[in-house]
Amino acid sequence: MWQGMFSVFVLFGLWQAAGALRVGGIGDIPTPVDVARALVDATQTSRYWSSWAISGERVAIGFLAGTLIGVPVALALGMNRTLRGIVFPVMETLRPVPPLAWVPLSILFWPTLELSIIFVIFLGAFFSVALNVLGGVDAVDPSLLRAARSMGARPRHIFWMIVLPATIPAIVTGMALGMGLTWEIVIAAEMIAGKAGLGYLAWEGFVNGSLVSILVAMVSIGIGGFLSCGLIWVLGQRATPWQRKS
């Protein structure tokens, strides 16, 4: 824990010193103290918080949709060979397309801008979750399956007793990775197509030539990603009490 605090502190210290000493290009960038002051000022405005709310809502809806659809789809593909043979190639064809490449098509296809942004977020979360979960199902120890069959377990027992619990760590990993990706996507999508949100805030700072505003938005996005991913890891640990805490 203290190592983390230390390295973050050093990072901000170097950044501050570079500003004070006007080192090269870094000297032109606002110092952490400037950014912190601007951030505090920003928190007094309702516009800042509504940006949070708008981006947060997009992330939440897109991410939850991606997870709620991705997990069952991946479990079904993992359990059923035929289904997997049919569906997996399609997934593998679509997966390499970066979610942001979907933005133009998404805008044309969905009736509202909001829906099109959420759809792109959904895609990012879905593939991240689904592929991790599928990998998790494949990695289930075959001895456990054999042991269960010897005990007379039926396929539905095997699913609930083994496949699902064995896959929880992979679900959590997929969700955490998906969450990180989701923030990347929402910011980029808001820069391209948004009228509000944290990504739009950064873009607006750029258009107005306000470096401080850009940095305030970047720091806010970082905090958002950190908190939401952290929440997933914590919940994930709660869901897997059998894994020894290190």
Partner: protein, 281 residues
């Protein structure tokens, strides 16, 4: 229940009739077993030893119902388990204790050992729990009922797994090198523990190992197998009295039996080694 239900006192006689197993018949055509026949009477502790890759684990997997024989048939108590035209399925009458362990990591010890009988609908959860606690206590494992497998030592895990297998009340217990990964000291404790449970329940036991001393110490009969393709090289009847404890290892009779077994298996181990056989497990 520790005295064994009537079901376990009778039954569990195994008859393996000219069983053969060929992997990849169209391609590499690896003959794992050839014309293998063996009769194991009800309640006998039979150990199968052989060099790596002799097909002993294949044989066990076929008995368990995880793999089908290519030829021959396997019969238990006049019921054909596997054979030409009959696809076999795993069943609770043949419980396996796996080489690398197969307790469910996300369930407590108690859940792991009681899930079999409850799943089969044979015991109520309360009854299963009482039986489980009694048998766990018997092998020196009181107070770990609510721990997860990940919190136990290797020796404890093996004991829990054997208890789980016995509580399922199989007619035959299949053990696939269960003590392989243990250190020598833990291993000898496990041997005595297994023998105690065996003396108590008298199930038929099919024990696969490549450790001759272990085989002789535990079994009524040691079947030494040839290198691949696996056939029976020699059968050694172990006439050491039961109950056995570790002092018997230094007895003269034990030494004779061991020499006999070594003579039988040494050539085969050398053949397997020279053939560059890799571990077949």
């Amino acid at each position: 229940m520790l005295q064994g239900s009537p079901r376990s006192e009778t039954g569990g006689a195994l008859s393996i009739r000219s069983v053969g197993k060929v992997y990849d018949p169209g391609g590499d055509h690896v003959v794992a077993l050839e014309q293998f026949s063996l009769e194991i009477p009800s309640g006998q502790f039979c150990a199968v030893v052989g060099p790596s890759g002799c097909g002993k684990t294949t044989l066990l997997n076929m008995l368990a119902g995880f793999e089908s024989p290519t030829s021959g048939e396997i019969v238990m108590d006049d019921e054909i388990l596997a054979g030409a035209g009959k696809r076999l399925a795993p069943g609770a009458d043949r419980m396996v204790v796996f080489q690398q362990g197969a307790l469910f990591p996300w369930k407590t010890v108690l859940w792991n050992v009681t899930c079999g009988p409850v799943l089969q609908g044979r015991l109520s959860p309360d009854r299963a729990e009482a039986d489980a606690r009694a048998m766990l206590a018997r092998v020196g494992l009181e107070g770990i009922e609510h721990q997860y497998p990940g919190e136990l030592s290797a020796g404890m895990l093996r004991r829990v797994e054997i208890v789980r297998a016995l509580l399922i009340e199989p007619k035959i217990l299949l053990l696939d090198e269960p003590f392989r990964a243990l250190d020598a000291l833990t291993k000898s404790v496990m041997h005595e523990c297994l023998l105690e449970l065996y003396d108590l329940t008298r199930k038929t036991v099919f024990f696969v190992t490549h450790d001759l001393e272990e085989a002789i110490f535990l079994a009524d009969r040691v079947v030494a197998m040839t290198a691949r393709p696996g056939r029976i090289k020699k059968m050694i009847k172990v006439d050491l009295p039961r109950p056995r404890d570790y002092r018997i290892v230094s007895s003269e009779r034990f030494g004779q039996l061991k020499r006999e077994a070594v003579d039988a298996i040494y050539d085969e181990a050398k053949k397997a080694f020279e053939a560059g056989e890799r571990e077949f497990a």
